[in-house]
Symmetry: C2
Subunit: 212 residues, 2 copies
DNA sequence: GCTTTTCCTTGACAGTCGTCAAGTTTTTCT
DNA sequence: AGAAAAACTTGACGACTGTCAAGGAAAAGC
């Protein structure tokens, strides 16, 4: 094959691959929405296909099996999820501003993306039963930990102090608060959510030690 | 009906009811074990029956439907779960002893009852999708919160200080640590579990303020 | 001991599931 | 425009699901 011909072949292959990947992503997004709506236990391939513009058979054209499809959907989730607070970190110039904007976004996404968040917790729990999810889940969990660490360590910096606990402890605490708030939110218990919002700043405060 | 006859009838009815309830409980326990093993998404009635000494048809003799059965299983879980640390609270005479024994039991049950705990988190998450579980879940969650509050408030008492954060915050923090430890435990990542064990005492310490 | 009630098994039902092969439509290439 | 390849639909398969009715086995009542 000549150079020109091989480069041409490359372009074609690339374009095919791109198209293939684009459709995969499209179907993974449809999967994500279906999972968020129904939960892992009740999500079927036919239901997913109905949330897309294709028929159920096409899923096996783009994915090896159901697990492959759901794994791809989880990866899509990560793309959306894991940089949520970065802009807040980048633009805040005072500790109070960072804290307040973090709390605001925390509860904003709680209400806005509630179904997506409950899906995340559903899949994380599935990984307790199904080994094949664990690697992806632990990976995403790590990125979430990094995400809140960026927030809290920057907060400590702006306060002029140091972080008093480990990144892991920070993450599990904030994630625990989020889970609780999500449950209360979906249960329609707005008062409890509001109470958690009031208490969140103090919880963050406990994690950093001000300089003397 | 004479008094004697009516009392006799009562006894008979009572005995029948007791027997009925006993079998219900027996089947609920079998359900609990099946759920713990397979998770909610993959637990079928036939699988449950195979974990008992009866056939699958009997489940509809004692339970209205699958939801009824699983709800009863969840209630069984609560009976086991929610008084776990009470003896530690009752017998500890110093703050250090209480803290150490709590931590020990915390990680003991983590390893011992791992499948049961993952089931709890599975069901709590199901309640984010299925409204009919929510009441029971919120009830159990409340009892778990009370449970850790009894530990931490007693700890503060023995230290001679006061609790610095709300019961809810205490619970979500400890529960978050437990969840993370459970995931790492089931993933075979013993190092991370050990690390959490090291950090847990300090996390408890942060929650109480010593008297001046 | 015989009848009645309770308890449990069996087998079938209507439906859903993941998977895949066969065939049709659409796009791409020459 | 015609041929080849890719993209997609359709329908079927075996397996599995919750539910329930019919009937047998065991226990209780007399």
């Amino acid at each position: 094959m000549t150079d020109v011909a091989s480069r041409k072949q490359d372009r074609i292959t690339r374009r095919q691959v791109d198209k293939f990947d684009a459709r995969r992503t499209e179907l993974a997004v449809a999967t994500l929405h279906t999972l968020a709506e129904l939960g892992y236990a009740r999500t079927s391939l036919r239901e997913i296909a109905q949330n897309s513009e294709f028929s159920h058979g096409v899923l096996h054209y783009y994915f090896a099996d159901k697990r492959d499809l759901i794994t791809e959907a989880v990866r899509q989730y990560e793309v959306v999820c894991v940089t949520r607070y970065d802009e807040v970190v980048a633009t805040s110039t005072t500790a109070d501003q960072l804290r307040d904007e973090f709390v605001a976004m925390f509860f904003d996404t709680l209400g806005q993306d509630a179904t997506l968040h409950r899906l995340w917790y559903d899949l994380r729990n599935q990984s307790l039963f199904d080994e094949s999810f664990r690697a992806d889940v632990l990976d995403i969990d790590g990125h979430r930990e990094d995400m809140v660490w960026r927030v809290v360590s920057r907060y400590a910096e702006l306060v002029g102090g140091t972080v008093a606990v480990s990144p892991t402890m920070i993450y599990v605490t904030l994630d625990g608060i989020f889970q609780r708030a999500l449950l209360n939110h979906l249960a329609g218990n707005a008062d409890n959510v509001a109470q958690l919002r009031v208490e969140l700043p103090a919880a963050i405060g406990l994690m950093v030690t001000k300089a003397e």
